[in-house]
Every structure is written in structure tokens, then in C-alpha cells.
């Protein structure tokens, strides 16, 4: 399991870096899907199979495919690729990169010095459903009204 965790983590890291540095938008999106799938594996290893499934189905499956279709319909050609290449000049990212490196060093040193043993506890679909449809039922209902509001607003603003 530990092997799987580190493997998925490495895949997530590499694919996320590829998202930021790839100049072709469609390639970037495909890398993003891989990154989300890798995060889903991490969720699974940490004992949240339901969250892993949702991540794979909803994010990687539904939303990213929608993104991909929208991007393909926009038909971004060589011009945007050149634009992206122009934005990736070193003088634009070296400064922020160094700052983030400093933060990374801090984070790693904290993680190395503080030994916290994480014991994964599996939270299955059953436990989650008991909570969602028991004491938290009202939250589910309210979330549905929130989505309805978003739907109505989006319908009105986007029509024509």
C-alpha cells in the first residue's frame, strides 16, 4: 500500500507539472485528468474509497471531459501555442519558483522533524450515507437548493 501511495503521488506530481508547462491546451487537460486519477488513487490508499470513486467519476470523468470538449470546440491553434510559449520565459517563473522552493523546504523540514503516524481508517459508502441521510439530511437538501440557484442564474445569464 505504501508503494502504491508513493507511486500515485509521483504520478500526480509529474502530471501536474506537465499541466503547467505544456503549451498545447489539450495536452495540458489530458495531463490534468491523469493528475486527478492519481489523486483518486491516493484517496483510495488513505481509506476513502467513496471519495476516490467520486474523484474519478465526477472530476476526471465528467468535468474534465466537458472541459476537453469545450477546448476542442474552441479550436485553439498554433497561435495560442506560441502565446503560451512566450509566457513560459524563465524571467517570468524563476522569481515565484524560488519563493515556492523556500516554502517547500520549510514544509519538508517540518514533515521530517515531526513524526506523525497516520493510521488510515476506512470510511466506506455505508458510513458516509448514514451521516448524509441522517443528521446531515438538511445540508444535502440545502446543497440542492444552492445548485438550483446556480442553475437558474446561469440559465438567465447565458441565454440568447
Amino acid at each position: 500500500m505504501t508503494m502504491l501511495f508513493y507511486l500515485a503521488g509521483a504520478v500526480a506530481l509529474i502530471s501536474t507539472i506537465s499541466v503547467t508547462i505544456s503549451t498545447n491546451v489539450v495536452h495540458a487537460l489530458v495531463y490534468l485528468i491523469i493528475s486527478l486519477l492519481a489523486v483518486a488513487v491516493i484517496f483510495f490508499v488513505l481509506g476513502a474509497p467513496f471519495a476516490a470513486m467520486l474523484e474519478a467519476i465526477v472530476y476526471a470523468g465528467a468535468i474534465m471531459v466537458l472541459f476537453l470538449f469545450a477546448m476542442m470546440m474552441l479550436n485553439l491553434g498554433q497561435a495560442t501555442e506560441n502565446e503560451e510559449k512566450a509566457w513560459l520565459r524563465p524571467q517570468l517563473w524563476v522569481g515565484p519558483g524560488l519563493l515556492i522552493l523556500a516554502l517547500l523546504v520549510q514544509l519538508v523540514s517540518v514533515l521530517v522533524t515531526q513524526r506523525v503516524d497516520v493510521v488510515p481508517v476506512e470510511v466506506g459508502v455505508h458510513e458516509l450515507s448514514v451521516l448524509l441521510f441522517g443528521p446531515w439530511l438538511l445540508a444535502v437538501e440545502l446543497a440542492s437548493m444552492l445548485l438550483l440557484a446556480g442553475l437558474i442564474a446561469a440559465y438567465h445569464l447565458a441565454k440568447r
Binding site: L137, L142, M145, A149, I152, A153, H156, K159
Partner: protein, 492 residues
């Protein structure tokens, strides 16, 4: 959930059913009048259902919602304000070259969000309520964007509100996550317990102060307190008047009530660091709001800056409310509730007058539009003057009693800094409120005909009359409301 608990949620259930029924009617046949009447009657029905609610034992309904007297009072205030905005919207939206029905759906759902906010004792419901209110407001602010001539202003306002509201929600979430990491609970009640334990054996009190400050920052964004106020004037100016009025009344009441409950139940106010930060925010809001309002020629912008100052006054009282841990019977809660009531009456009145003389094609929001109003339409001018005098805090109006209440609370708790700011701020405020009154007296030398009050304006004028009566009655004999609020706040 028992039957008793279901009955306690009756207003929420009715307000949820309202947009659903209205939507079904829209699916059958679109009719502006039917949508407006359905929404208004739904809100009215929810208001009347409060009479049933008080017959049942008030209690916590699931861990997420709390129904008590304070909640019932705020629910009534929000429903009244939403009802007034709904009725004001009808004549305003009549000449919109677009479908009007969705606006009423959004009003109803936004009201639901506000009602959830005032009854939540749990971060899940507090956050869901805040987001429901905000998402509806994005739509309401950008509503007239299909009119080519004026499309860019509502769009700009809506995007500004979208981005900043999302950022403030992010602050709240980050703070909630930190609190959760420390206390392991999302319930306001348990936070105070968790905090005392956390200070004893956890990562220390600084951690908790940071978390609470992040949450308060998010709340301050929504209440548009200085230095988190930058979005306010642009959003007020760009939004159509009914959306502005809704944001300024329902939005502020819901947020202030949620903040009051959070501050009082969680025991956050026992930390001197938090009190210091709130004091600085309050003083800055009072001075900043009043100074920035001084030279505004646009009434929406002026009222937005004045709302910043008013929320600053409110913060003085908010700082003194009873903490759940060390309650000592301060007047703070009553002062906050009274001031919110007064603020709703005054802003609804001021925006109401603007809505009556405006329509969606032509908004009269410049100070020049009101020149000579005393001769052109004495009745509206009298109401507008009364509302402005009340906002300025002149005696015999409800605004004066509200300010007096806050002042006495401030003296009681010896907050001399904020009180000095309040005196200076009120002095500055007098100038820009009276400037509008002066412009209304100055005769107009050219002709700018106001829309003639037709049959469909009868309701709007009726609401304005009710607001005027409430303003004067509560300003002259506030005793009844004060007694009511005393019992309301005790339940908190």
C-alpha cells in the same frame, strides 16, 4: 426528525417550496405578474407561519439548525425585507426587455439562504446559507445584462462580487478548517469547549486566534467593513436597484445575525486580540465610510459608503455582546438587533423611493435627479427626507434610537476610541445626508418629469407609507420593540 421539529422548519419549507412552485408555473406559462404574486405570497405565508412556529417548543433541529427567539426575530425581519423588495421589483422590472420571472426565483432562493444563515449554529449550514445567498446575488446583480445599452455595468458588478465573494468564502473555509483541526468539530457550541481544551493541551491559543480572525475576515468582506469594502460601491452602483436593496437589507441582516451568533456562542470575544482587531476595523469603517461618502454624486455609491459606516457602528455593539463563557448581561445583543431593524427600515425606505422614481430602462441614481423633488413630488420628498434624517441619526427617528442604544452600550463597556469615531462619523454623515435634502429643496429650472404614479405603484407607495410610520413610531415610542428584543436576545 420529529413532527415538532418539522413544524419549527415551516418557514424554511415554505420558502423552499415557493421557487419550485413558481418555476412550475413558469414552465406552464410565463407571466411577470403571476411570478411576482406567487413569490410574494410564498414569503407572506412563511411570515405568517411564524405564528405557528412559536406554539411549538423551540429547540435544535438536527445538529445543523437552531430555532430560538433570536432566529424567529431575524427570520421575520428578513422575510419582511424580502417581501418589500419583491413588491418594489414589480413596477421596476415591468419595462425590462427580457424575462422577469427568474429574478423572483432568485429572490426566493436568496431569502432561503439568508434564513438558513440566521438559524445556523453549525459551519456546514452557515456556509451553505452564505453560498446560496451569494450565488443568487450573482444572478440578481447581473440580471439586466441582456439590455445592450447598459449591459456592461451589471456584468462588471456581478463579476466583482463573484470574485470577492468567492475569496471571502475561501477565507471563511480556511478559518473553519483550522478551527476543525484544533477542535475536531464544526458546531459553534463545541468550539468554545474545544478552544478551552485546545489551549490547555493543543497547539496553543495563537492558532485559534488566527482561525477566528480568518473567519471574521470573511464575514467582514460580506458586511463590507473597511479594509474589506472595496467591492461595495461598484457593486451597489452596477446592480439594478432591487438587487442593491436586497443586498443592502437582507444580505446585511443575515450576515450580521450569523456573525452575532458566532461571536456569542463560540466564545471568540474572550480573546483580547480579537477585540483589538474588531475595534480597529470598526473605527476604520466608521471614519472611512463617512469620509468616502462625502463627495459622492451618485446616490447608490453614497448609500454604499454610508452602509459601510453603519456596519461600523453596528460592530461597536457586536463587540460587547454576551459571550457564552463569560456572559454578564450586557445590552450589546439588544443594541445590535435594534440597529439592524432600524437599518432595514431606513435603507428600504431610501432605496424604495429611488425604485419608485426609476425603472429598469432609466435609473435615477444621480443626486441631480432629485433636485427640486419637494416641488415635483412632495410625498416622495418627505419620505426620502425622513429616511435620510434617520440615517443621519436625527431625534424622533428610529435611526436616532438605534445610535443612542449603541452609544449607551459603548459607554457601558468604556470603548472610548470607537465612540469618538462614532461622534466624528455622525458629524460628517450629517453633511452628506443633508446635502441631498438641500438639493431636494433647491428648485429645478428645467423640466424632468417623474414617472406618474399609476395603479401598479399603489403597493410601492403603500410600503413606503408603512416604512415611514414604522420609522416615526419606533423613533418616538421604542419601548415595545426594546422589551421584545430583551426577551429575544436572552434566548441566544
Amino acid at each position: 426528525m420529529t413532527f415538532d421539529q418539522m413544524m419549527l422548519l415551516l418557514p424554511l419549507i415554505i420558502v423552499t417550496a415557493t421557487p419550485v412552485i413558481t418555476m412550475l408555473m413558469v414552465a406552464v406559462k410565463r407571466s411577470h405578474a403571476v411570478s411576482c404574486i406567487l413569490t410574494a405570497s410564498g414569503l407572506l405565508l412563511a411570515l405568517l407561519s411564524l405564528l405557528i412556529v412559536v406554539r411549538y417548543p423551540l429547540q435544535e433541529v438536527t445538529p445543523l439548525l437552531q430555532v430560538d427567539n433570536f432566529n424567529i426575530f431575524c427570520t421575520a425581519l428578513i422575510l419582511l425585507a424580502a417581501l418589500a423588495v419583491t413588491l418594489f421589483s414589480y413596477p421596476y422590472l415591468c419595462n425590462l426587455e427580457d424575462h422577469q420571472d427568474e429574478f423572483y426565483l432568485l429572490i426566493a432562493i436568496a431569502t432561503l439562504g439568508a434564513l438558513v444563515m440566521v438559524s445556523s449554529t453549525h459551519f456546514i449550514t452557515a456556509f451553505l446559507g452564505m453560498e446560496t445567498l451569494s450565488v443568487c446575488l450573482y444572478g440578481m446583480i447581473a440580471y439586466p445584462l441582456h439590455r445592450e445599452a447598459t449591459a456592461q455595468y451589471p456584468m462588471e458588478a456581478s463579476i466583482k462580487y463573484l470574485v470577492l465573494s468567492a475569496v471571502s468564502s475561501g477565507f471563511v473555509l480556511f478559518g473553519v478548517a483550522l478551527l476543525y483541526a484544533q477542535t475536531g468539530t464544526l458546531h459553534f457550541n463545541d468550539i468554545s469547549v474545544g478552544i478551552t481544551q485546545g489551549i490547555a493541551d493543543g497547539p496553543g491559543s495563537e492558532y485559534f486566534v488566527v482561525a477566528s480572525l480568518l473567519i471574521i475576515t470573511g464575514f467582514a468582506f460580506k458586511l463590507s467593513l473597511v479594509p474589506f469594502h472595496l467591492w461595495t460601491p461598484d457593486v451597489y452602483e452596477g446592480a439594478p436597484l432591487p438587487a442593491t436593496a436586497f443586498l443592502a437589507t437582507v444580505g446585511k441582516v443575515a450576515m450580521a445575525a450569523l456573525m452575532m451568533r458566532f461571536l456569542s456562542v463560540s466564545g471568540v470575544l474572550d480573546s483580547p486580540a480579537i477585540i483589538n482587531v474588531l475595534t480597529v476595523i470598526g473605527v476604520l469603517s466608521i471614519l472611512g465610510g463617512n469620509l468616502l461618502a462625502l463627495l459622492q454624486a451618485n446616490l447608490k455609491r453614497l448609500l454604499s459608503y454610508s452602509s459601510i459606516a453603519h456596519m461600523g457602528y453596528l460592530l461597536i455593539a457586536l463587540m460587547t455582546i454576551d459571550s457564552a463563557i463569560t456572559g454578564d448581561g450586557s445590552l450589546g445583543g439588544e443594541a445590535v438587533s435594534f440597529y439592524l431593524t432600524a437599518y432595514v427600515i431606513m435603507s428600504l425606505g431610501a432605496f424604495g423611493v429611488m425604485m419608485v422614481v426609476s425603472d429598469s430602462a432609466h435609473e435615477r441614481d444621480h443626486i441631480g435627479h432629485y433636485q427640486g423633488l419637494f416641488w415635483r413630488d412632495p410625498w416622495l420628498a418627505v419620505i426620502f427626507t425622513a429616511m435620510l434624517l434617520s440615517l443621519a441619526g436625527i431625534p424622533l427617528t428610529v435611526g436616532f434610537i438605534g445610535k443612542f442604544y449603541i452609544f449607551s452600550v459603548g459607554v457601558e463597556t468604556a470603548q472610548w476610541g470607537p465612540l469618538a469615531a462614532m461622534v466624528i462619523g455622525s458629524g460628517i454623515g450629517l453633511f452628506y445626508y443633508l446635502r441631498i435634502v438641500y438639493r431636494m429643496i433647491t428648485p429645478l429650472d428645467y423640466d424632468d418629469p417623474l414617472p406618474v404614479a399609476g395603479i401598479r405603484d399603489v403597493i410601492s407607495h403603500g410600503i413606503l407609507l408603512v416604512l415611514l410610520v414604522a420609522l416615526v413610531v419606533l423613533g418616538v415610542v421604542p419601548g415595545g420593540l426594546m422589551l421584545l428584543l430583551e426577551s429575544v436576545v436572552q434566548s441566544l
